[in-house]
């Protein structure tokens, strides 16, 4: 399945994308159209964010735009410029599901989506729009508007427990996070022998998807085969992740289709919804309930901070002294910290920007990476800068956008009544009523996976 493509008629061969591709997957000669080597592409979509070679009236003719839009299966309400590097859209599949009365649609959105989507409607960079996002999804017609953040809290329960288990039982360390599918793919391609270092946890998207068609289907009394599971992601690699052969633990495809933040903005416009004028609404319970810890998954260091907020209490039985763990915040490509968790000195690392992971992996291969837990995110400062996020026209805005999207995320964390994953009442109920306990039998079946190596999946 092609996720990221370069239009051979539009690419001018400037090679700006090849400079930033973290796995050297873009090939070609200067001033000639570039090609993506699909065996190497991790599908992060940073090339999509970078590309400026657009369908031009002056160069390609006035009607060329209509042809390219049609070829890419975009709605006719899309008016924005189309560029050589793009991600394949699934918006029409979602529209068909929404229009089908026999289909029950459930949607989830990643934390980073609410930190940026308003930008595509002209709002200032990084304007938080959690309530309007929920309202828009409901107005579009999704039967249930759930939230990936719920599963992010579940991820912390599972991954935190896994880390403690590994530390206390001499398991493989350091353990690496597995929520970023581009990073998982990078590891599978370049360091397959290191796969055992990956957490066995699925990403929040895949956990939420697996729960939609099991727990959710049971709760709502809707047969799983009627459920169409959509996720809205800041990420282009998520479409690849949901198509992996492993991701069918509910007995069905756990996530049917991924829309990027940009594609959701198109869908909102296509439905004639005035996004900026929407009133705030809440996500549906129970799988739309979330803590501040889940929200910060969208920024680099966030998964680590969320895990520490919960891990500290699970290990020591005491509340963590300060909720804001600034030692793991920041935007440096690789940063480490030592956190005292009772008697244990937990050594953690945070990598952001996939290009920065190579030296860290070389340390690991040489047996010199003395850490317990490492978070890796592919995109520049985490998911808020994902390949599926609103695309900035001018690169001079990158810094401001990054900063504003990060602060929107931390602000939202701060304003939420619950800021620790294990205190999310709906997560507690999920374990009481359904999963029983983290790392339990059902958790293992639905929420964990063994990444079976990644050749080409179709």
């Amino acid at each position: 399945m092609t996720v990221i493509a370069i239009d051979q008629n539009l690419c001018t061969g400037c090679q700006e994308c090849t400079k930033i591709c973290p796995n050297l997957a873009i090939e070609g000669l200067p001033h000639q159209a570039q090609k993506i080597n699909e065996d190497k592409c991790v599908m992060c979509g940073q090339c999509v964010q970078k590309c400026k070679s657009y369908v031009s009236a002056a160069e390609h003719g006035l009607n060329a735009y209509l042809g390219v839009r049609k070829e890419r299966d975009l709605p006719e309400t899309v008016l924005e410029p189309l560029f050589a590097a793009y991600n394949v859209t699934h918006i029409q599949e979602v529209k068909r599901a929404l229009a089908d009365p026999n289909v029950y649609t459930m949607v989830q959105s990643a934390p980073a989506v609410r930190a940026a989507i308003a930008e595509d409607f002209g709002a200032p960079l990084g304007e938080l729009a959690a309530g309007r996002l929920a309202a828009a999804l409901r107005k579009i017609g999704f039967d249930k508007v759930f939230d990936t953040n719920f599963a992010a809290d579940v991820t912390i329960m599972e991954e935190g427990s896994e880390l403690i288990h590994r530390v206390q039982n001499g398991g493989v360390l350091p353990m690496f996070t597995s929520c970023c599918p581009a990073w998982v793919r990078y590891l599978e391609i370049n360091y397959p022998q290191m796969r055992k270092h990956l957490s066995t946890c699925k990403s929040p998207q895949q956990m939420e998807g697996a729960l939609f068609k099991t727990y959710g289907s049971k709760l709502l009394n809707v047969p799983a085969e009627k459920v169409f599971s959509v996720s809205v992601m800041p990420c282009t690699a998520k479409q690849h992740e949901c198509s992996r052969p492993e991701m069918v633990d509910s007995g069905h495809r756990d996530v049917d289709v991924v829309l990027t933040t940009r594609e959701l903005a198109w869908l909102i416009k296509d439905m004639g919804i005035d996004f900026l004028k929407l009133n705030n609404e809440k996500f549906d319970l129970p799988m739309g309930d979330y803590s501040g810890a889940a929200e910060i998954f969208g920024v680099t260091g966030g998964v680590m901070e969320a895990a520490l907020r919960t891990g500290y209490e699970l290990i020591t039985g005491k509340a963590i002294p300060a909720l804001d763990i600034t030692a793991v915040r920041g935007v440096d490509g690789f940063r480490t910290a030592e956190i005292a968790v009772g008697d244990l000195k937990l050594k953690v690392g945070v990598v952001t920007g996939l290009k920065n992971v190579k030296p860290v992996m070389e340390l690991l291969v040489a047996g010199k990476l003395d850490l317990h837990f490492v978070e890796v995110m592919t995109c520049p400062v985490g998911c808020v800068t994902g390949g599926g996020q609103p695309k900035l026209i001018d690169e001079t805005d990158f810094e401001t956008a990054y900063k504003q999207r990060i602060s929107a995320t931390y602000d939202h964390d701060k304003e939420l009544p619950i800021r620790k994953s294990h205190e999310n009442a709906s997560v507690i109920k999920l374990y009481e009523d359904y999963l029983k306990k983290p790392l339990g039998q059902l958790s293992h079946k639905l929420l964990h996976t063994t990444y079976c190596g990644d050749k080409k999946h179709h």
Partner: protein, 193 residues
């Protein structure tokens, strides 16, 4: 003539990759008010109409844009007086342009083209006709933008610069004089002549 020559943007072709970041920025800055273009691509609802044109040849790439000629042939040929010199820039008044293409013919660099006009996200109409209106489009050095030309600011390779040719000539003159002074100081046989 000190400091009266028209300014213009020049390209270091060893740095330009032909990425078109300059075209996008040019369009953005000229359509922020008129067509409510924001900071992201999703806010664009009209065709991208830049005022400079990235040109790729086998040996190089560079944006081609108006040099703000002193004896502007475009201004000379425009029968509508739509092109004038304002300050140190040659500016097109799009409202006056009838799309006759004389300026396109006159410009030796191809720095002018006709592009559809849009305002408030809608195509501008010709008077008494449903047909869309076009106008000559060329670099205005981001007239009215305090930070100066957007293309220069956004180039990821710092390949563009705003050229003040008179200043450049003086810099070159001084450098040449200094070089000659050094040569002469170190050559006593020349002093003897």
């Amino acid at each position: 003539m000190a400091n009266e020559f028209g300014l213009f943007v020049t390209t270091d072709t060893t740095k330009c990759t032909g990425c078109k970041a300059c075209e996008m920025a040019c369009f953005q800055v000229h359509n922020e008010g008129r067509n409510k273009v924001g900071r992201t691509v999703g806010t664009i609802t009209v065709p991208v109409t830049p005022k400079l044109y990235v040109t790729v040849i086998p040996t190089a790439s560079m944006p081609i844009q108006c040099k703000h000629c002193e004896n502007s042939p475009c201004r000379a040929v425009c029968k509508q007086f739509a092109i004038s010199k304002i300050g140190r820039q040659i500016i097109v008044d799009e409202a006056k342009c009838i799309g006759c293409k004389d300026c396109l013919v006159a410009c030796p660099f191809g720095a002018v083209t006709l592009l559809p006009l849009y305002s408030d996200g809608q195509p501008a109409r010709q008077a008494g006709s449903p047909d869309g209106k076009v106008a000559a489009s060329k670099c205005d050095l981001c007239a009215g933008v305090p930070e100066g030309p957007a293309c220069v600011r956004v180039c990821p390779n710092k390949a563009l610069s705003l050229n003040d040719i008179d200043e450049e000539r003086k810099r070159k003159n001084i450098a040449a004089a200094e070089a000659l002074a050094v040569v002469n100081a170190g050559a006593p046989e020349r002093r003897a002549l």
